[in-house]
């Protein structure tokens, strides 16, 4: 049982597990694994909560209705699953700044939070523009041999690698 408590598993084991999960999702739910629509639905729900007039007339929210659906529960599940994994392996820790960041930019939390916030804005915007993220396009699209999935994942990594080399 030592493997169950190990801090890290081989990426091939983790990847195979995710591949098998995709079978389960297609079979039991008729859904590919994907994460980014859950975020825009949440934004819509927050907006609805604060709006005075209740009618949502933006086209986007007619196509992606702000509600808790299968994918929203999936993202909630990811949080819980990662929490359980981290607790079981003893790697859970509350950290404001990742070590790779602090090695270059120092240990202050505020710059890291603001950077993460701004990166998040671009990523959330880009994910909805592209119609998917590293899960929906990067795993589910590619495994179905969708041209859109492979083009998206290439674009993610081209944009990501260039930016990472500019930052570090």
């Amino acid at each position: 049982m030592d493997w169950f408590f190990a801090a890290r598993w081989s990426p091939y084991i983790a990847g195979a597990g995710i591949g098998i999960l995709s079978w389960v999702a297609f079979l039991l739910s008729d859904k590919p694994l994907g994460c980014s629509t859950a975020f825009v639905r949440t934004s819509g729900m927050i907006e609805t909560f604060f709006r005075k007039e209740k009618n949502q007339d933006r086209q986007y929210f007619k196509e992606f209705i702000p509600m808790i659906d299968w994918e929203w529960m999936l993202v909630l599940g990811i949080m819980i699953g990662a929490f359980l994994s981290a607790i079981i392996s003893g790697s859970f820790s509350l950290d404001w700044v990742p070590s790779h960041w602090s090695g270059t930019f120092g240990p202050k939390a505020f710059p890291r939070i603001m950077t993460a916030f701004n990166g998040g804005i671009l990523m959330g915007f880009g994910a909805r523009w592209a119609g998917g993220c590293t899960s929906g396009h990067g795993i589910s699209g590619t495994l179905q041999l969708a041209v859109s999935g492979w083009v998206a994942v290439a674009s993610f990594f081209i944009g990501g690698c260039i930016t990472a080399f500019l930052i570090y």
Binding site: W9, Y12, G81, M123, G124
Partner: protein, 185 residues
Amino acid sequence: MFDEIRSHKGLQLVIGLLTGIFFGFFLQRGGATSYNVILGQLLLKDFTVIKIMLTAVFVGMAGIYFMAGRNYVSLHIKEGSAGKTVVGGLIFGVGFAILGYCPGTLAGAIGQGSLDALAGGLPGILLGAWFFTFVYPEVKSKIYPKGYFGYITFPELFDQETYKVVIYFAFGIILFLSLLEIIGL
């Protein structure tokens, strides 16, 4: 049997949650919820993320195409164009490197206690996705049609039998992952 499960709304929410719990467990234990690992990948020093993704694609593709051939599952191919997939993908990629998590691994990072994901990344994604809803009609009518290629898959693009293309991709993935191991990445 599957139709009954698939149309049961309450049960679907439970299945979504359970699938997510396993997904989050695998992502965290594989190392993909760590900022250090993701930036290591984007800086081409640590190929953990690519290894996880390509193994998932290898295993997932084999099973999905096996089941699709027997009509147990149907494919869900997304529409693509240069204006949608490439432009959106590049914006995503820039944000991905600045944030250091993607939407799924951000959720996992929150679960493992990364407070930068919770306090910075999460409100950022929610806001960015919300901003997009305002420009969507304009982007959809003016930019999405550029370089349109639609709902196509590689077997259709190459006009080859599906099983052959699955085998080409499977060999390509094995070859690429073997090369990474051989050169020690």
